[in-house]
């Protein structure tokens, strides 16, 4: 397998983009990535797009063809991949495998979701189709409910508190203040979180990531050709993907994701590194409890200590292992199909030293952790500054 590098990245503003269509969002993210890579669009060989549910959100399937068309990229092969909120991470992985295989050289990995073109209750209903319809969604278990079950059990087993969960949101909103693309560039306090409307106890409104429109894009090339386009290539050193039961009731534990542990194990092994080598990570904080479980699953702290280390500031910028410097899903926003790619954009900018006021000093290696549903799919990538 050939080594693969990221040579360009692009992101739209994340938010409720009432005046920007699906078509315009994806071409905007793509154009920024092409400009960033300084590449002629004609050199692009293929594209992979992560998207959860344009079929339900904008009544449009077959979006890879639509995007190739809109972007003037026909006749290159364009493929949509889907695994709920892990769709973006899977698009990155497929794009990487295609370059590694030698079948393509320059490949775009994109992610997009346009979530605000339907009524809010339809959005919730569409998102619930990422859970098991027959055993979860049908009986009313939407995602806040599913993650609330995990939070309750985590509190019971490890003494994790609502304050500790609130601190995840406070940190990620703080980081988002320094990210011009973030949906919520505003500080919140622990009290704000604790006093926000209950959604599914113990989760409150500010424990939940928002509904977001947005698109993200990275451009990949074989590592040995990357310097042709950029002085700061970022190598994808490891990739790991794993599956688990789609619904909670068949799992051995509710306080962690087996698929996250497996995906991380595979990615660490491929990259020849471990959790202690990481300088930072973007993790899938769809709910505050999800970030706490993620840092445990990834080996950044002992099982059960996720709340504690968050409280102690270890996951803040300047801490031992900065988590979600971009603002995460909570602060930056969570356009579901775009999230996995947006995570790779953040790590790339950090490893290049281009993250401005949210820069992790001397960052050389980072990780992305992207979850589909309640952990039925997890994909982890490890990225290193190019030599």
């Amino acid at each position: 397998m050939r080594k693969v590098a990221i040579i360009g990245v692009g992101l739209t503003k994340f938010g409720e983009l009432w005046d920007i269509s699906f078509r315009r969002m994806i071409t905007e993210a793509g154009a920024r990535a092409i400009e960033d890579a300084g590449i002629d669009g004609k050199r692009i060989d293929a594209m992979y797009v992560g998207n959860m549910s344009a079929g339900q959100f904008i009544r449009q399937e077959h979006i890879a063809s639509l995007i190739a068309d809109q972007a003037g990229l026909t006749p290159i092969p364009c493929t949509r991949v889907e695994a709920a909120c892990a769709s973006g991470g899977l698009a990155l992985r497929q794009a990487m495998i295609s370059v590694a295989s030698g079948i393509h050289d320059i490949v775009v990995a994109a992610g997009i979701e346009k979530m605000t073109d339907v009524l809010a209750e339809q959005t919730t209903e569409a998102l619930a189709t990422a859970a098991d319809q027959e055993w979860e969604a049908f009986v009313g278990a939407t995602f806040p409910g599913i993650y609330a079950l995990m939070a309750r059990r985590h509190m019971y087993e490890f003494g994790t508190t609502e304050e500790q969960m609130a601190r995840v949101a406070v940190k990620n909103h703080h980081n988002a203040c320094f990210n011009p693309c973030a949906q919520y560039q505003m500080e919140i306090t622990v009290e704000d979180v604790l006093n926000s409307s209950p959604v599914n106890t113990p989760l409150k409104l500010l424990d939940c990531s928002p509904i977001t429109d947005g698109a993200a894009c990275v451009i990949l090339a074989p590592a040995d050709k990357a310097r042709e386009f950029t002085d700061t290539p970022v190598i994808i050193a490891g990739t790991g993907q794993a599956s688990d039961t789609i619904s909670l009731h068949d799992r051995l534990t509710l306080t962690g994701l087996a698929a996250a542990k497996k995906a991380a194990e595979l990615a660490y092994k491929m990259a020849g590194v471990g959790p202690n080598d990481m300088d930072l990570a973007e993790v899938h904080d769809c709910f505050t409890i999800a970030e706490i479980m993620a840092i445990e699953d990834l080996g950044f702290c002992k099982k059960g200590d996720g709340g504690k280390v968050t409280e102690q500031g270890e996951t803040a910028i300047g801490g031992r292992i900065p988590i979600n410097t971009s603002g995460g899903l909570k602060g930056k926003g969570h356009p579901v199909g775009a999230t996995g790619i947006a995570q790779a954009v953040e790590i790339t900018q950090q490893l290049r030293g281009e993250a401005g006021k949210r820069q992790v000093n001397g960052a050389e290696i980072g990780l992305t952790h992207n979850v589909g549903g309640s952990g039925g799919t997890v994909v982890v990538h490890i990225m290193k500054r190019g030599d």
Copy 2:
């Protein structure tokens, strides 16, 4: 890139499967493929699933996780790919690329669609989301209307007749009579087609492929390990995928698919063969006119002669280039996400000499041609009997 072989295939019955759930269909196809390959399920490294729109048809996204779960395959990586009716062909291509890259050895490529769990008008509406929503579906152009435009223009430019189109349906129903998995195992006549209800003039009911439930599965391995599992491996010698504008109005021609020509050119080149080397092909006859255009685009006859050669019997079993020996989408049925994989199942069975009464004598090399929408995505594979 490593050479890749098909070592096992499985198919459910195609039809209106009121009493079989999505979950059961996919595990049935998978179990048959595993049995056919004589492989222990534990050796499977990854899975790709083609599916157009479980989100709209059964309100379930994230189906790759669901399927891994149902099939007892967790924690292997499972990825859904979508390109409307070309979803299956794209799943095969991604699975092939992943084996070729070396990241996986034994990979399942599956396809599934459960289309009859919603009302017929909802099915039509869901299928129309494969067309451009803003320029086609919104103004009422569903797929029969779109293909009717192409048929009209083909008739005008080349003198193609309704009788010639009818002969495609007659031939494919005839072939389906010898396929125990086919939806319509019954003969029809040219008169039946011409006298069937008008759908979109000049297309009548029997010019259209049906609404179908079904699942299909193939298992891939590196070619140099294939003999461990089977005495009759089938090599995937070529793969080609291309995109085009999603809607008709921007294309240079209505009488052929530029993406089909491009995908075929790429697949022929990779396999080092040409159209005259093919012993048979499975092509995407979603409408009768689509088969006529396909055999022209693939180079099996001169542009404009598709109707004529069909009338002359050249595409029948025993003819110069047998097309859709399985019954095609028209006779076998068209569970949209499964179709591309079902085509690979048919070619594999033919190259192994296991196609029973529909066997093409001495078949050594064959082709599959799978179309998304009205040609916004096309994927072509070339398969050869293993040495």
